[in-house]
């Protein structure tokens, strides 16, 4: 028996660990450090219909136990992702979750229809919550009706299950989760980054060229845990949890909260081996906690 296996819509995961979108590119760089087939899955960088350069630099700023980013969805565009990045990833035995973004519904459906046909793309992650894009993307992640609509539209064209990535920058996260569930989402991923800003002491201006950015890292973990704890009790679709995960202990905490699997983002930057390490160390922690199979952890905080 594989104590770490997880079955989710579209995804048979060897283990619950995957790198979070935007923090792992398309895997090439991290393949220097360990075998990517080891991962439960890979969430690739957001893909938009056309290539995007993204925001001006500086694009990152450090904060207490966290960081801000305003990459601005830089990516090579749908065509190149399909012709170059995804084929490269087929050499690894690892399911790909394609993160897709856009500024109008047609962007999402255009990318979804095509990328969901790639043989190694097993699920989509609808990024309706990127805080760093100016053109209206915000509404998708903050207005339940709009979120439901885009989910529906993507579901209609996708060949693979659709996970919707929720923004934490809302008053009522449960309402958002229920809306996308009603729109047909097969799962949720949460949380995306919190909107934040840092100012430069000398210039008085924002450190990020984009002014504000998305806050990630350990600082936001308590917010992620709270939201997953709430949402998991109110929806019946599974959650892939993320936000500040840095260790096996964090993984277990996310599962306890109600996540079925997790993604690791920012921690890849301080420790490029983090995903691999966590996978290696999880069984020992399960032993210590007297847990046979990881699935026993899911939702234990409220069950």
């Amino acid at each position: 028996m594989n104590r770490l296996s997880v079955e989710l819509p579209g995804l048979s995961l060897k283990n619950p660990i995957m790198p979070a979108s935007g923090c792992f590119g398309f895997g090439r760089e991290y393949s220097q450090f360990y075998e990517l087939s080891k991962l439960g899955a890979i969430m690739i960088k957001a893909t938009t219909p056309e290539p995007r350069f993204g925001n001006p630099t500086p694009r990152v700023a450090e904060t207490a136990a966290g960081m801000l980013n305003a990459i601005g969805l830089q990516n090579p565009g749908l065509k190149k992702v399909i012709s170059e990045e995804l084929p490269w990833l087929t050499q690894y035995d690892v399911p790909v979750i394609a993160n897709i973004a856009g500024s109008k519904i047609e962007d999402y459906t255009a990318v979804a229809a095509q990328i969901s046909q790639a043989p190694n793309v097993r699920a989509l992650e609808l990024n309706i919550s990127c805080p760093n894009v100016k053109e209206g993307g915000l509404a998708f992640g903050t207005i339940p009706e709009v979120a439901k609509e885009v989910t529906k539209a993507v579901k209609a064209v996708s060949k693979v299950p659709v996970y919707v990535k929720l923004s934490p920058n809302v008053t009522d996260i449960v309402e958002m989760a229920k809306a996308v569930e009603a729109g047909g989402a097969d799962g949720l991923t949460m949380i995306n980054t919190l909107l934040g800003m840092r100012l430069d002491l000398r210039t008085a201006k924002p450190v990020l060229a984009n002014r504000s950015g998305g806050l990630s890292g350990p600082a936001i973990k308590p917010v992620a845990i709270r939201m997953i704890h709430e949402v998991s009790q109110h929806v019946s679709i599974p959650i892939i949890g993320m936000g500040g995960i840095n260790s096996c202990e964090d993984v277990i905490e996310f599962l306890y909260a109600g996540a079925s699997a997790v993604a690791i983002g920012t921690a890849n930057f301080s420790d490029p081996f983090i995903c691999s390490k966590v996978i290696d160390e999880l069984p020992e922690l399960l032993d210590e906690l007297g847990i046979d199979h990881l699935s026993e952890c899911i939702g234990r905080s409220w069950r």
Binding site: G22, C23, F24, G25, R28, E29, Y30, Q32, F33, K45, P51, R52, F53, G54, T57, P58, R59, V60, A61, E62, T63, A64, A65, G66, M67, N69, I71, Q74, P76, G77, G217, P218, N246, T266, N268, F269, S270, D271, P272, F273
Partner: protein
């Protein structure tokens, strides 16, 4: 081959105002083959500060498996670094990026190495290599003020060395660009690292006529090319989609290659 290793502090000393020289030893050194590459450091195992810090490799000693870097202890991460003592370890990821092309200068040629402030250190290993290839190296090193000057003797041992200070408290009063102008124009190549303003000025003045190599700085996340934090536009497509990453395509670029 990029490695990740907890390397051991061999020596740490302050060599100028807020400027520290740190020597580390470990297997990772064996992978260091170009001057101008950098390492990405984490001096703690806590969450604050969270991110690694990029610092250039200043000199490499393969025999002793040691390398030296010079850095300014200014913010949180570098201050923490400066507290590390002999025998303690530091988490190093490296060597990263593409350094200065030594092979672009040949035996007997004269080249300028132009550094500003904490941009000076990577030029030291470069200078040693050029010198040992029989290249004639001239160093022009700019600092804010007298107290910030370091490695003058080290550079002087390798070739002609001009020190400029912005406030005139030491050496030539003025900027490195002033010094270049004052030199006889017999050099073929410039290698430079320092503040963006300085690099821009050098590119503008000499980019067309000379071979010019510039080492850029940018805020980084991963340091290895995965996060898209450190990109710049390519010069042939300044408003388009094509880009280079300072961390993995750079930090050294040929003048005219990217928009700085």
């Amino acid at each position: 081959m990029i490695k990740n290793e907890c390397m051991t502090v061999k020596s740490q000393k302050q060599i100028a105002a807020a400027i520290f020289e740190l020597t580390l030893s470990g297997e990772l050194v064996s992978a260091m083959d170009q001057p101008g590459q950098f390492v990405h450091l984490k001096a703690n195992d806590q969450l604050d500060p969270l991110l690694r810090r990029p610092i250039s490799i200043c000199s490499i000693n393969q025999d002793r498996k040691e390398f030296t870097m010079i850095y300014r202890a200014d913010g949180k991460g570098t201050k923490q670094l400066s507290k590390k003592k002999v025998h303690e370890t530091i988490d190093v990821l490296g060597p990263l990026g593409n350094g200065f092309p030594v092979e672009e200068a040949s035996f007997g040629e004269t080249v300028l190495l132009v550094g500003g402030g904490i941009g000076v250190p990577p030029l030291y290993e470069l200078s040693k290599r050029l010198k040992s290839s029989g290249v004639n190296v001239i160093h022009i090193l700019g600092f804010q003020t007298k107290q910030a000057v370091f490695y003058e003797a080290e550079f002087a041992g390798l070739g002609e060395t001009y020190i400029a200070t912005a406030d005139g408290s030491y050496g030539i009063h003025g900027y490195v660009t002033d010094v270049i102008t004052s030199l006889e124009n017999s050099f073929t190549t410039i290698y430079s690292c320092g503040p963006t303003m300085m690099l821009r000025a050098i590119e503008k003045e000499y980019g067309a006529d000379k071979k010019v190599f510039l080492s850029l700085e940018e805020r980084m996340g991963c340091g290895i090319g995965a996060c898209f934090a450190c990109v710049c536009h390519t010069a042939d497509d300044p408003d388009g989609f094509s880009y280079k990453k300072v961390c993995s395509d750079g930090p050294v670029f040929r003048a005219g290659e990217v928009v700085i």
